[in-house]
């Protein structure tokens, strides 16, 4: 709690046109694949998966 440093650790997307930038981007073909990728990344990176829009998820580390 308190001052929280947040960082986007990874981006998972089904539409490469919509994302770019510093964090590693993982491309998924299907919704199922995206869920699976985000799930695995969440456990590995200890960051929480958030859904920005129907085709994009980000893994964020809080605190």
């Amino acid at each position: 709690m308190g001052t929280i440093e947040k960082a986007i650790l990874a981006v998972v997307t089904r539409d490469m046109e919509r994302v770019a930038g510093g964090a590693p981007i993982f491309y998924a073909e299907t919704e199922r694949e995206m869920e699976h990728l985000a799930f695995t990344l969440e456990k590995i990176l200890d960051g929480m998966a958030h859904r920005l829009d129907p085709v994009t998820m980000i893994i964020v580390r809080h605190a």
């Binding site: 985000a38 456990k43 200890d46 958030h50 859904r51």
Partner: protein, 293 residues
């Protein structure tokens, strides 16, 4: 003969001071101080405090005024106790799944320091009473001091300043709400399912303006989450960042929405536990005290 009276007074003060410390030392569900070594530390320090308090009276009566200066040494010593507690708890806090938070730790540390002063005071009064009025008055003063220290032991509880009820957890797409308070964005379907199954929504409604400020304090909120998790268990582990008990505030009316993830899903018990969470001294504000001007 005179010396004997003083000795009696010191012994009485010592005993009463020690009993007062014993009365104020209770290892409850929070398991702090840890039993038995944490308790030994505090009982020993209580003994020292009692000795200081009871010796001060004969020293003063003997016009040995410089002897009082070592009370300042005592104050120094007990501030050290506070630092020690703070450091230990902060270190331990890093190893908790749901940490206490620094406000809660500061509150506990402050209590440890304060209680030693109460012990000094109790020993002082008892010792004085023995010298002035003999054993009987000493006994009476001792009993009153021990009773008083028991009264001073506990502060307010959350149940006294707020109404606590169960709220409905609801997911709108990835967004998690309890009643109408937004909590967080949960991306994974798997996490959503687990929160739906194990999560419990709680609404804390402040009773007045003062308590609205108190329960908005982040330290107080963390203390609530810690206590609930300590007592009811927590459905969480490292590498599961989405399964985190959190609290969010409705900025309109100051209500608090809580997501808790107890090991056993029992709303009634959770409400009881939250009612008994101590109100942190550092979180209390009194905006209503400002009055007319």
């Amino acid at each position: 003969m005179k010396l004997e009276l003083y000795t009696q007074a010191v012994i009485a003060g010592l005993v009463v001071g020690f009993l007062a410390r014993l009365r104020m030392l209770r290892t409850d569900y929070r398991q702090y101080p840890t039993y038995p070594h944490g308790q030994v530390i505090h009982l020993s320090l209580g003994m020292i405090a009692a000795a200081l308090g009871s010796v001060a009276v004969p020293a003063l009566l003997d016009r040995n005024y410089t002897a009082v200066t070592f009370l300042t040494l005592a104050a120094q010593q007990f501030r050290e106790v506070r630092n020690m507690e703070r450091e230990t708890l902060s270190k331990l806090d890093q190893m908790e799944l749901v940490p206490r938070g620094s406000s809660y730790i500061e509150g506990i540390a402050m209590v440890f320091e304060g209680r030693n002063y109460i012990v000094i005071f109790a020993a002082f009064v008892t010792s004085l009473a023995v010298i002035l009025g003999g054993w009987i008055s000493g006994l009476l003063a001792g009993a009153v001091m021990i009773w008083l220290s028991g009264r001073l032991r506990s502060g307010k509880y959350l149940g006294e300043i707020a109404d606590i009820s169960e709220g409905v957890l609801r997911l709108e797409g990835p967004n998690l709400y309890v009643d109408d308070i937004y909590l967080m964005n949960v991306g994974l379907l798997d996490d959503q399912e687990r929160i739906r199954r194990h999560g419990l929504g709680i609404i804390i409604k402040p009773r007045d303006k003062d308590s609205r400020v108190t329960i908005s304090n982040i330290g107080q909120r963390q203390a609530i989450l810690h206590d609930v998790s300590a007592i009811m268990g927590v459905y969480r582990d490292t590498g599961e960042p989405a399964l985190v008990p959190i609290s969010k505030r409705d900025v309109q009316d100051g209500r608090l929405g809580l997501l808790i993830l107890p090991q056993t899903r029992d709303a009634q018990m959770a409400i009881e536990v939250i009612k008994r969470v101590p109100v942190l001294e550092s979180a209390v504000r009194m905006p209503t005290e400002i009055g007319e001007n």
